[in-house]
Point group: D2
Chain length 140, copies 4
C-alpha cells in the first residue's frame, strides 16, 4: 500500500522510496523464511558478534507507471547469486497484475573484521535457492 508519506509534491511516489520498499521486501522475505534480522543486520546490541556484513554495492530502479497514495501493489522477489560472495535481489512491483516499477539491489559479503570479501552466509545461500523455486508474489 503506497502511503501518503512516500509521495512528493508531484502527487506520486518519491523515486528513491521504491528502493526502500525493495529493501523492506527483502527483510520481510528473510523473516518469512526463518532468518532473524539479528543474524543479518547490525544494531547497537549485536555489532561485535556479526561475522559477515552484507553491504550494498549497487542498486537501480525503473519507473514505468506513476504510483499514487493508496495504490495496492504486489511484490515479486527474484534473488540471483552472482558468485560465491555476492548476490542481487530484483523486486518487481505489480499493480493489477501489470509491472509498474522494479528495483534491484546488489550485496557483497565481507568479513566484519578484515573487511575483505568472503563467502555468503549459508542461510543466505539457502534462502536464494529456496526463493528461486517458490516465487509467488506477496502483497506490500
Amino acid at each position: 500500500m503506497v502511503r501518503f508519506g512516500d509521495t512528493d509534491a508531484a502527487g506520486v511516489m518519491h523515486f528513491h522510496n521504491l528502493l526502500k520498499w525493495s529493501h523492506e521486501a527483502w527483510e520481510e522475505s528473510l523473516s518469512l523464511y526463518g532468518i532473524s534480522s539479528l543474524e543479518i543486520f547490525p544494531n547497537s546490541n549485536n555489532e561485535k558478534t556479526l561475522e559477515i556484513l552484507l553491504p550494498i554495492i549497487h542498486c537501480e530502479a525503473d519507473y514505468i507507471k506513476p504510483l499514487r497514495t493508496a495504490d495496492c501493489l504486489d511484490i515479486e522477489l527474484l534473488p540471483f547469486r552472482l558468485d560465491s560472495s555476492s548476490f542481487r535481489v530484483k523486486t518487481k512491483f505489480l499493480l493489477d497484475g501489470k509491472l509498474v516499477a522494479q528495483g534491484l539491489i546488489q550485496h557483497v559479503a565481507i568479513n566484519s573484521e578484515s573487511k575483505l570479501r568472503c563467502q555468503l552466509p549459508r542461510c543466505i545461500d539457502l534462502w536464494i535457492e529456496s526463493s528461486s523455486v517458490n516465487k509467488s508474489p506477496m502483497p506490500l
Copy 2:
C-alpha cells in the same frame, strides 16, 4: 517490525521515523474502518475534488526505550476530538506489553478553496467515535 532502514548510526530507530509510523498507523486504521485514502489524502488525480484538507498543525513524540532493528511493536491508536474542526491522534508503541514510545499528531480541517477552518469530514467524526470505543492494539 522495526526495519533496518529506519535506524541510524547509533544502532537504534532514528527519532522522527516514529512520527512516520504514527501517520502510517492512522492511515491503516482509517482503511480498516472503511475510509479510502482517496477521500482524505491528496494525490495527482484527486486534488481538484477534495473539499476538505486535514493538514497537521502540531506533532510530538516521547522516547522511553531505544528501538532496534527487528523489534516487533504493538501500536495502540487513541484519537481525541478537540473541537468541531480539529482532532489529535495519540499513538502508543508497546514492546512486550510495555510502553516504549508514543507519538501525537494534531490535524485541523480546512476548506481546500478558502483555506479557512471548517467542520471535520463526517467520516472522520465517525471514525473517532468508533475508535474511542474499540481500542485494541494492532501489530506494526
Copy 3:
C-alpha cells in the same frame, strides 16, 4: 531551501521532515562552533570510544504556514539547558522574517556503558552558553 524530495502529495513539506531539518541545523551549529561530529555522534568507527551519548527523549513541532519547494527559510536556534544532564534545542523557521514553523528537540546525556544519566559533555555546555548569547539566524 525546501527541496522537492521533502514534500508530499499535498504539495507541501511532509511534516516530520521539519524535525530532520531541526536536527541538521543543530549539527551545523555544533560544527560552526568547532565541535566535531565525531565527538558527539556514533558511527561505525568511533562507537567504542564515545563515553557520553545524547539520545533524544522528546521532540515536537508546530506548523503555522505551509512550506513549498524552493521556499528559502532562515533558521534560528535557541538552546536551553534544563538541568545538569539534559537540554532542549528550539528551532524557529522564518520565511521573509515571519515564523512559519518551529521544532523542539530534547536530549539527555547518558553514559555509554552504564546507560545511566550523566553530566552533559563540557563542549555542549559551552555551546549552549555561547548560542544563548549570539543567536543570529542562519540560512537553511
Copy 4:
C-alpha cells in the same frame, strides 16, 4: 557533509540517501544556473501552470567506500542529453579527491496534459550544455 540522520545501524550512510543527495545536487545546480525550482518542480501553487513535467524513469547508484557521519564530500555533476526528450545526470561523490560513490538519474520530458513525451524545456537544454563545459565540483 554526511548528516547523522542519513546513516543506518551499520554506522554508515543508508544506501538510498545517495540518490536523495544526487537529486538535491541537481536542484542546487539548476538554481545556481538561474533556473527557479518553480519552473521545474510541481507544488501546491503551480501545478496547474507547469506545461512540462520531468519524471524520473530510471536511477542507479554505486557504492565504493562506506560514508560516515561528518564525511565532507565533493560532488561533481555530469549531465548528458540522450535524445530530444530525455537526459541523464550522473553525480560523482568524492572524499579527499577519490571517488567513493556515484549516482545516476534519468528524466524524460512529458506534456503535463497529454502525458506524452515532448521536447525538453529550453532552459534544461541550456543548462545541460553549460554544465557539460563547466564541470567543477561543488561541496555538499
